[in-house]
């Protein structure tokens, strides 16, 4: 994935007139085929299951008639192509089926749990980009010196740390031993359901209701999981920023600017950094999506009632409707992020008219 982002971010896109529209049509087509393949893949994953889904519903003691009836209700007696067609048609209506556990529609559940994850991911990416980008620039400017090696080591450590483990250790240290942050969940128990649910994001809802106690409780709960997740993205963002910056700093315009007496910081931020902004947007957008991966592990550790925990619970009991739906959504998010970052590229890059 790293490579993919690097090449995606480095390829200069220059299109003019008619060719631009043809390319546009081509990319719409390619996005659509990727989406279709994604649906196919998740369908196959859903059907791989060695456990008979009918038995999961009726139990092992049901008689043959009940078994066949349920099999028919689930549509599993149909030919596989027809099953896929039904699956596909339901998808277009936003219907992912219902969960084994509660029988509620999967889509409703996901809409309910998603805000928690988006909130966590947003705080994380603000931390990650806010720290990672300056670190990367700093490392590039001080290339080969101590600072560069230090940043490199920080990044390598971030790439190597099992995120669930560092979350666990952090929880023990900062919550249990020191009491600096909140523990499991999004908020302290006695603050739950106090502020009206407007946006689903606790930080915003509590501010809207102007209940500062709730707000600070939410802050103390989000800060640790967000920092742990952010460490991984700081590692990634700082490395990429460094390599982008190095590329710019070796260009002739930098030498020219230096030669004509532009101050050092001016060269770094107003000249070189300006040219990597667009590439960085792509990187940040894609690592925002990458949070979904970290969220699965970190939400389990922190009891965060979001998308990741929902998926993990489904994985443990083998609730395939949920697994398929979540996988599909994550895939769609990544495809969407790719498209969006491509659009941002065209929007922000002055060379593309």
């Amino acid at each position: 994935m790293v490579n993919q982002i690097e090449t995606a971010a480095r390829t200069p896109v220059r299109r003019r007139g008619f060719r631009k529209y043809r390319r546009f049509g081509g990319s719409v087509f390619s996005v659509l085929t990727t989406l279709f393949l994604l649906v196919l893949l998740t369908f196959v994953i859903g059907r791989l299951m060695p456990v008979d889904p009918v038995i999961a519903v009726v139990g092992p003691d049901a008689d043959r008639a009940t078994y066949l009836k349920v099999k028919q209700e689930l549509g599993l007696d149909l030919p596989i192509f027809q099953q896929f067609w039904i699956f596909f048609k339901n998808l277009l209506h936003g219907d992912f089926g219902s969960t084994l556990l509660t029988g509620r529609p999967v889509m409703e559940d996901i809409v309910r749990v998603l805000p928690a994850t988006i909130e966590l991911a947003t705080v994380t990416i603000i931390l990650g980009a806010g720290i990672g980008i300056p670190l990367g620039v700093y490392a590039a400017v001080n290339r080969g010196r101590f600072a560069d090696h230090a940043v490199r080591l920080i990044a390598l450590l971030g790439h190597s740390t099992p995120i669930f483990w560092i979350g666990m250790v952090g929880l023990m240290l900062f919550y249990a031993k020191l009491g600096w942050v909140g523990g499991s969940g999004r908020i302290d128990l006695f603050y739950e359901d106090i502020v009206p649910n407007v946006t689903g994001f606790l930080l915003i809802d509590s501010l809207l209701a102007w209940d500062m106690d709730v707000f600070w409780s939410a802050v103390s709960h989000i800060i640790l999981p967000a920092s742990v997740l952010a460490y991984a993205s700081i590692a990634y963002i700082s490395r990429i920023t460094r390599s982008f910056m190095l590329e710019q700093l070796s260009q002739e315009y930098v030498t020219t600017a230096r030669a004509k007496g532009v101050p050092r910081n001016g060269v770094i931020w107003r000249h070189a950094f300006k040219n990597i902004r667009v590439q960085l947007v792509t990187v940040v957008a894609l690592s925002y999506g990458g949070m979904l991966e970290g969220a699965v592990l970190i939400e389990t550790v922190f009891g965060w009632p979001g998308f990741g925990q929902y998926l993990t619970n489904a994985l443990v009991i083998g609730d395939m409707n949920v697994v398929v739906a979540c996988t599909l959504i994550i895939g769609c998010v990544f495809i969407a992020l790719n498209v969006i970052s491509d659009l941002l590229y065209r929007f922000f890059d002055p060379r593309i008219q």
Binding site: T34, I45, G144, H159, S160, W165, G290, V324, I330
Partner: protein
Amino acid sequence: MNTQSKGLTAWLTTEEPASATHAAFQNVWRVWIRFASNPLGLAGLIIILLLVFIAVFVPWLAPYSPFDQNLREALVAPNSQHLFGTDELGRDILSRVLWGSRITLSIVMIVSVIVAPIGLLVGCIAGYYGGWLDTILMRITELFLSFPSLILALAFVAALGPSLNNAIIAIALTQWPPIARLARAESLNLRKRDHISAVRLMGASSMRIVLAHIAPLCIPSVIVRITLNMAGIILTAAGLGFLGLGAQPPSPEWGAMVSTGRRFMLDSWWVGTIPGISILFVSLAFNLVGDALRDALDPRQE
């Protein structure tokens, strides 16, 4: 001894290699010289060699059996008897961590062995043949690449059922696409070369060209790529183990051990902390080696 090693160095650095194999050895030697000048990379290599040593000789190294329970000595803090303490069933954590190195290493090795030929074949065929075959193969590759690897592995394991073997299959399924992409890029370059045209003129079949002339030339970069991915493989495997979808208890897999330790974190920190540190060390070692290897192979960078 001295003259012999001198002779070897001379053989490795001579200006006129006598054969293709000789030249290949010289190439490896040059990369090694650059690699060895990176202290962090060397440190990583030493940790990995240590890991291999431990994995091979663990029956003689581990002070206790990794499975023997002793409930009277459950959750004992680290002491001279049990250097890393014991877990909730009184099993010696040091012994379990040492045995766990076998699981981690075998996951990395098996995944690499599965992934390399698949990625190589898909990539070389796509790159050499081009056209619609290329389009189809690369579309599939991109689809797999558009997922975070842990998520895809999770979905596959959920479908196949949780076990170590299924975790390995699932990780392999998520690891071949970057290799395929790389191999494709390499073969796109190679197919225009003169020696390939020469072989084609001599009447070699396309399959023969791909298997005997293109794929072997892609192998070095594929090996480097796999080395770079190994830390990711370890972390994904540990994550699966942590979620209870990889190796099953009582197997001493590090991720699963961390997951057990979660329940005792407050009173007995060592149960979950020690295996976590092992994961960190080993994946850091692979990352350091990968990083140094990349620098050594790309001398333009520094």
